[in-house]
């Protein structure tokens, strides 16, 4: 059979959204690949230039709808870096807790989507079943299940309810048991990335006070990425409990200045990799320029490299393990 190009997308079960991966196959083996993105480009960086700093949090929530808080959090950190603003201690801890809850919810969504990719629909239902518990926790603390709009420049929107720690401990205890089942289901199948955890290397908020081991795998294949995510979920559970335990009382938010003169950037460990916001203010109450660095956008660039020489079925496994979220990729 001669080589031929196959479109995987824009409407294809593999893509989890609207993008197109063109692969060139020789029989079952992939010779070349070429991602085509931009179907969901909404001009975030331009829109953010006409909105006030605080109001942009609503937008950054929608960058990735399964990982809203982590993105808004990164934006708030960048703005605070530009403003030289210090967040109260309790605000930092609340950010850590909400961040990690969101991270687990996002990873479970990834696990749910990864199951059908590999032909295992049961994993979808199981992971969504567990995700429901974490969405409930997020609803308890933020009031919403999606697009929570929780972090604020200078802190968080509201305090956690009084008995939040009790619910968290209950859910996490249940989840730790269930995660073992998920691992059993997935590790029946075995399918170079150096993983760096920015929470350790470039710590922000209350992460310096947390005691955790970042999840690292030496291999760079899909299986390693899977294991890293599962390990991260366990780490996140530990961090949530620690943060709730150590959380000080006091204010959780300060009033930020309205205008910024200057620039700032911060990186965070997003659910999918390294997120970076670069915010410039020119003395106005709106950003002069916002640059969003999306981990998926950068990873998708490596798609041809990862694809070559693999089988057609591997496309799904590899792209699934990157956890493509088109919202943040196309901005």
């Amino acid at each position: 059979m001669a080589e031929m190009w196959i479109n995987m997308g824009p409407q294809h079960p593999m893509t989890h959204g609207l993008w197109n991966l063109r692969i060139k196959v020789d029989g079952e083996t992939i010779v070349d690949a070429e991602p085509e993105i931009g179907y969901l480009h909404r001009g975030y960086e331009k829109i953010m230039e006409v909105r006030e700093f605080q109001k942009n949090v609503v937008l950054t929530d929608r960058l990735c709808y399964v990982s809203s808080i982590t993105w808004s959090h990164c934006y708030c950190l960048a703005c605070e870096a530009a403003m030289d603003l210090d967040v109260p201690e309790r605000g930092k801890y609340l950010r850590v807790v909400s961040n990690e809850l969101q991270r687990i919810a996002s990873h479970l969504m990834w696990l749910a989507a990864y199951g059908p990719d590999l032909g295992l629909l049961t994993a979808l239902l199981w992971a969504l079943r567990e995700r429901e518990l974490f969405l409930d926790l997020l609803q308890l603390i933020t009031g919403a299940r999606m697009n929570q709009n929780y972090p604020r420049i200078g802190g968080v929107r509201n305090d956690a309810p009084g008995d939040f720690e009790k619910y968290c401990a209950k859910v996490i205890g249940h989840f730790r048991k269930k995660l073992g089942e998920h691992e059993k289901v997935f590790e029946q199948s075995k399918l170079f990335q150096v993983r760096i955890d920015l929470r350790k290397l470039d710590p922000y908020d209350a992460y310096p006070e947390m005691d955790f081991q970042p999840a690292v795998e030496q291999e760079g294949d899909s299986y390693a990425r899977y294991k890293v995510r599962v390990e991260e979920m366990k780490t996140s559970c530990d961090i949530i409990l620690q943060a709730l335990h150590k959380m000080p009382t006091g204010p959780y938010r300060v009033k930020p200045p309205r205008r910024i003169e200057g620039e700032g950037f911060r990186r965070t460990e997003d659910s999918r990799g390294e997120a970076l916001f670069y915010v410039i203010g020119d003395g106005d109450d709106r950003p002069y320029r916002v640059k969003i660095r999306s981990p998926v956008f950068s990873n998708i660039a490596a798609a041809p490299l990862m694809m070559r020489g693999n089988k057609v079925a591997d496309v799904v496994a590899i792209m699934g393990s990157i956890d493509v979220c088109v919202g943040e990729m196309d901005k």
Binding site: K46, V50, D285
Partner: protein, 162 residues
């Protein structure tokens, strides 16, 4: 002297003080340097070889109306510090050398900067539009590309601004 001072001293030694528009320590383990576009590849090569800047986090393009800036955020995992390089580009001649030979990951970031800001990266293997349609004629992130402010909820006082 921490890693920040070491980097600044190394850069001054190698290129001389006058070739930098500014050199500054932004915060702990973050250095910001402002250079002209002609020095970009030399500075990047030096940083990569001397300080093991293995990772290019992002490339941002900024339109300052009188000039463009191409902003590179470099990371060294082994030394654990970041360098932000702002390279000045004249507004009437938006060309700058590509850093794809140094960091393969720069490929999509430079394409994005070209797509949205119209800065041409000389030496890029495939400098085409990545997010916008292939036949799009404008560079929307430039300040002279109008925002449709009347159709959005924006800050009332600033509608005149553009």
């Amino acid at each position: 002297m921490g890693i920040e001072g070491e980097v600044l001293a190394g850069l001054k030694d190698r290129f001389g003080e006058p070739s930098f528009r500014s050199l500054a320590i932004v915060r702990d383990r973050v250095v910001k340097i402002v250079i002209d576009r002609k020095d970009l590849v030399a500075v990047c090569t030096f940083l990569k070889s001397k300080f093991d800047m293995a990772h290019l986090s992002s490339i941002a393009a900024v339109d300052w109306r009188d000039h463009f800036e191409s902003v590179y955020h470099l990371t060294s995992w082994s030394r654990n510090f970041m360098v932000q390089i702002n390279a000045w580009i004249p507004h009437d001649d938006p060309h700058i050398d590509s850093v794809v030979p140094l960091w393969n990951g720069a490929n999509v970031h430079e394409r994005e900067a070209y797509d949205l800001m119209g800065i041409i990266y000389d030496g890029h293997p495939n400098l085409t539009r990545i997010l916008l349609p292939k036949d799009f004629e404008f560079f929307p992130l430039r300040k002279d590309f109008p925002q449709e402010v009347d159709r959005q909820y924006v800050s009332r006082r600033k509608i005149g601004g553009g």
